[in-house]
């Protein structure tokens, strides 16, 4: 996501295994979708990492120093792409239940209503 136009995801690690069956999807993702994804997101540093004997995952590092890991075992390349895009589209904030869907610094323009206000 982009906060005031600045992309928050800085680094994406694509970890896979060249042998395991659960990495089949991510291997074809790296052939077909990853180059395009890299091109579309020049602000993003994409690193591939080979770890044998583990399920594949995506790991994102955000500007606010948080990181997010998504397991992508046994997924289709399309699903992997969806998760990668979702990492890119998010801000890296903690996932908490929203208290309000409207965040403002200036709650009232015409003055807060109280029982004393006479019209």
């Amino acid at each position: 996501m982009a906060l005031r136009g600045a992309w928050q995801l800085q680094k994406l690690i694509v970890s896979f295994s060249d042998w395991g069956g659960s990495s089949r999807g991510i291997r074809s993702f790296m052939e077909s979708y990853l180059p395009v994804f890299k091109e579309k997101n020049p602000q993003l540093e994409v690193v591939t990492e080979l770890i044998r004997g583990q399920h594949p995952h995506l790991k994102g590092f955000y500007k606010n120093k948080s990181e997010r890991v998504v397991c992508v075992k046994n997924m289709d390349p399309e699903e992997v792409l969806q998760y990668a895009t979702r990492l890119r589209n998010s801000l890296g904030r903690k996932v908490v239940k929203l208290k309000t869907r409207h965040v403002t610094k200036h709650p009232s323009v015409q003055g807060t209503w109280t029982t004393d206000v006479k019209f």
């Binding site: 982009a2 239940k97 929203l98 409207h102 323009v109």
Partner: protein
């Protein structure tokens, strides 16, 4: 006098419809002329705008109310509702209702396919129904993020309404056809206000627009749906994460913005103090 005229017209139209109903092929085409009845009412309503007066001197200016409307369909429906105290014009209303039902059905059908391909026009139409319009990606050269202006708008996105001003963040249900960093125009504005005036739409303000930038497509926190029937050994849990879109409001247009005289005077006012303290 006016009422008498109306009665006469109604009687006339009733006669006319009775005449036409004998001829079945004609009936579908027949529409009693509604205009002469509706027109005077319109002018009547527009002669008396809503004026808010206020003893408070800050508020004492006359509120401007926009009298223009958008959406001819809405207008007609409203007027027919206003006039339906008498038991006439039923034919018309039935036709209207049928059309409305047909429209909504079309929408639901088009909305249910999740993986269907949309053409550009369809995308635009659906976006307009929700209340936004995509302009394009935000360029680095764009200077859209401005300091706060004391102006607010009440706007509708989908079925939610928000009171926003410049610099606010709102979370809406996921907006389908926009990417992160796109610029949007939100055009379903219901009310505009500044510290001195308020503009109320009836129901919408056609000339107003709110500009926003898409900041995030993200998932909300997980909600657990738990079903249980007692004594039946039945328990189901299901997780759900709602997709949300975070928008940052960039600009509110359609109302004259008061100059921001408060802040610049304050800033100089503070600076001398600091200097004095430092000295």
């Amino acid at each position: 006098m006016f009422m008498a005229n109306r009665r006469r017209l109604q009687v006339l139209t009733r006669h006319a419809s009775a005449l036409f109903s004998t001829n079945t092929t004609f009936q579908s085409l027949q529409t009693p002329p509604p205009l002469p009845i509706y027109q005077p009412l319109k002018t009547l309503t527009s002669k008396f705008p809503l004026i808010f007066t206020n003893p408070d001197p800050n508020w004492s200016q006359i509120r401007h109310v926009s009298s223009s409307r958008i959406g001819d369909v809405n207008e007609d429906n409203e007027h027919s509702e206003e006039e339906d105290d008498d038991d006439d014009d039923d034919d018309d209303d039935y036709y209207d209702d049928d059309e409305a039902v047909g429209d909504s059905e079309d929408e639901s059908v088009s909305g249910c396919g999740s993986k269907r391909e949309y053409t550009a026009e369809e995308k635009e139409a659906e976006a307009a129904a929700i209340g936004y319009q995509v302009i394009g990606p935000l360029q680095k050269s764009d200077r859209v993020f401005k300091p706060y202006e004391p102006v607010f708008a009440v706007l509708q996105i989908g079925s939610h309404q928000f009171k926003v001003s410049n610099g606010d963040c709102i979370f809406t249900e996921r907006l389908k056809f926009c990417e992160v960093n796109d610029k949007l125009i939100l055009n379903k504005v219901l009310l505009l206000g500044s510290s001195s005036q308020t503009i109320i739409g009836r129901p919408l303000l056609p000339d107003a627009a709110v500009h926003a930038v898409v900041e995030e497509h993200a998932l909300d926190a997980k909600v657990i749906i738990f079903k249980k029937k007692r004594r039946k050994n039945y328990r189901r849990t299901k997780g759900h994460r709602q997709e949300l879109t975070k928008l940052r409001i960039v600009d509110v247009q359609g109302i004259e913005k008061p100059e921001v005289p408060e802040k610049p005077p304050k800033a100089p006012g503070k600076k001398p103090e600091k200097v004095a303290v430092a000295a």
